[in-house]
């Protein structure tokens, strides 16, 4: 097997605070092959963005510490000198952020942004950089790129701005593109255009992509492999087919059950997860991070479950593997019954109150 492009082992990110150390990424391990798309899913606070930012040395907080190992083409990223990292960022590894307006400087033209991305890493004449910038704009599907080069970001629509940011990321043909919620701020028709663009770029340039998102549908469209995170840890990992067709972890069940479908028969209630995601990593439970919200919680869950499974499809859960399919059904029904009964009783009290 060829060496993976990126190999992350036991990555930990800890923030020191007045109330103690908050471990927001907890022993995260994954690897990414050449030309592969990895989807990282989880809710807010699951550590999906901060883990990827820590790889690039983008966490500048003096109270943060990053431990573990992340090898990119055999070079260790954790603890790499700033100058060396700066050289890598934007050339070999590029990142696209969620909000295209804050990724662009309003006082410079789109062309300036693109030539800057090029000239930061290579000594190229301005004219050459400008020609390449036109090519990049054309490549991401901006009509009339020659003329648009001298426009300012505010003259572009949201979807076009996001395409400009992606074009900046692609300026130096990076081996790895990290896209953090690249379509969340966009309308569906624009989102579809941006997803098509990412798919085409991955195919034509053979770039690897880490796609960070909370949108399960986007991941199921684009990713080869999927990493589900909760409370700073990987709770399930596998190929797209494995994770979406045969999810093993109760959190993944809940995530999939929570999404209303546009192309499936309607259900009256969604099979969601009770409770809310942990508000702070300071109060993380000692064992399984998902235990406080899990319907199947039992004593063993006080201990940390290992990531285990068959082949590449692994999950961190103590439930007996052979019972999982049956338990998945029970989860949904049990939660629904309790909730319906509760609202029914409360509604009766409230309606009596109206008559009073």
């Amino acid at each position: 097997m060829p060496e993976p492009l990126l190999e992350v082992t036991d990555l930990c990110v800890t923030f020191r605070s007045r109330r103690g150390a908050a471990r927001v990424v907890d022993r995260l391990s994954f690897d990414l092959g050449e030309g592969e798309v990895l989807g990282v899913v989880g809710e807010s606070g699951s550590g999906k963005s901060v883990s990827m930012m820590s790889l690039l040395g983008l966490i500048r907080d003096p109270n943060a510490s990053v431990e573990g190992s992340a090898r990119f083409r055999g070079r260790e990223l954790v603890g790499m000198a700033d100058a060396e990292l700066r050289d890598l960022r934007g050339r070999d590894i590029a990142m696209v952020f969620q909000d295209p307006m804050t990724s662009l400087t309003p006082v410079y033209t789109v062309g300036w942004h693109l030539t800057e991305a090029l000239r930061a890493h290579r000594r190229v004449p301005k004219a050459v950089a400008r020609r390449r910038a036109v090519e990049l704009l054309a490549e991401v599907g901006i009509p009339d790129p020659h003329r648009r080069l001298d426009d300012y970001p505010h003259q572009f629509s949201g979807g076009m701005r996001q395409r400009v940011v992606i074009a900046m990321g692609l300026a130096n043909n990076p081996a790895l593109l990290i896209a953090d919620e690249p379509t969340t701020a966009l309308d569906v028709t624009t989102q579809a255009q941006v997803l098509d663009l990412l798919r085409r770029l991955q195919r034509e340039h053979g770039s690897s992509i880490v796609l960070i998102t909370h949108d399960m549908a986007v991941v199921s469209q684009l990713a080869d492999r999927v990493l589900v995170m909760y409370g700073g840890r990987a709770v399930e990992k596998g190929t797209r087919r494995e994770v979406f067709h045969a999810p093993q972890h109760p959190y993944t069940w809940g995530l999939l059950g929570s999404v209303p479908r546009a192309r499936a028969a309607r259900v009256h209630r969604l099979a969601t997860i009770p409770g809310s995601p942990p508000a702070s990593a300071l109060d993380a439970p000692p064992g399984c991070p998902f235990a406080p919200r899990c319907v199947h919680v039992h004593e063993t869950c006080l201990q940390r479950p290992p990531l285990e499974g068959a082949g590449g499809h692994v999950d961190a859960c103590w439930l007996p593997r052979e019972d999982r399919a049956g338990l998945r059904r029970i989860t949904a029904e049990q939660v629904a019954e309790d909730e319906v009964a509760r609202v029914h009783d409360a509604a009766e009290t409230v309606e009596e109150g109206i008559d009073r």
């Binding site: 569906v188 999939l256 209303p260 479908r261 499936a264 028969a265 969601t272 029914h344 109206i354």
Partner: protein, 350 residues
Amino acid sequence: MRTSTRSGTEVLLRANDVVKHFPVRGGLWHRGPRPVVHAVDGVSLEVRRGETLGVVGESGCGKSTLGRCLTRLTDLTSGTVEFTGRDVSRLSRSALRPLRRDVQLVFQDPYSSLNPRRRVGEVVAEPLEIHTSATAAQNRARVAELFELVGLSAGHLDRFPHEFSGGQRQRVGIARALANNPRLIVADEPVSALDVSIQAQVLNLFADLQDELGLTYVFIAHDLGVVRHVSDRIAVMYLGEVVEVADADPLYDAPGHPYTEALLSAAPEIDDGTGDVAPERIVLTGDVPNPVDKPSGCAFHPRCPYAQDRCRTERPLLTLAAPGRLTACHYPLLTAAGDQAPHAVTAGAT
């Protein structure tokens, strides 16, 4: 499965040709009449008692402004809004007070829709203080009951909004809307700011409350999955106009308007081995035109794959294209019998 018989045919709210234009400043050397944003441009709708009417469209299509017009949070430029048969579109502030009780709103952002300096118990009690003559103690007891109803602990009455998570805050917003036992709730993107699992909890709460209290909802959202999930009927908006109205399942299975078809085909769907495969995507070229300078004829014609000469000059009206289906298109994708017209591209969900 939700029964389709839940909603009757009694009309609770009716909008007739509602128009809302916002004047904007022209350039420094601008001459002639002041340009206007055509936020809502001739919308006619009815909301039936006990149903959920979904309003869907992309950002800038005027769906939020329509919600504000329906609730009289903003004055209409022209047209009328009738609530239980009575025209409320020209009523004065004081004459509107009964309407304010019967029609409530739930907003998108649970962070900015609650006063950060007031305890949540006070926030929910305020509508009671305005509309009832109950004592403070009675109001407090009622607020505690409402908290239980929306799934909050009555012990949290004296907390401030910042002590709650986004999902809990949205529950506070729902409790406030329910305080005076309203008949209609207009919810404007009530779940779009929430995490997926919390979003599902709040959607379930909306469904349970409707079952128990017989509420009528107008549910404004951009998420196509969410809209299908909550709605009995759906109105699709584009550039300030309603382009299609139909029952939820038929609309998704066989869209009648080319814009609906393109919008639905762009929605990504989870492939979990159970659902349908995505239909062929219809790629819309270009961006949504500027609502200051709307295209002539059909507003969708510059991006429509089926546009003909007639579409460039003549604005199509919302007409009955098939049973139970209103479509504003000269060449709808449905035959009069409700089958797909020969030029329709998508198979839809079958």
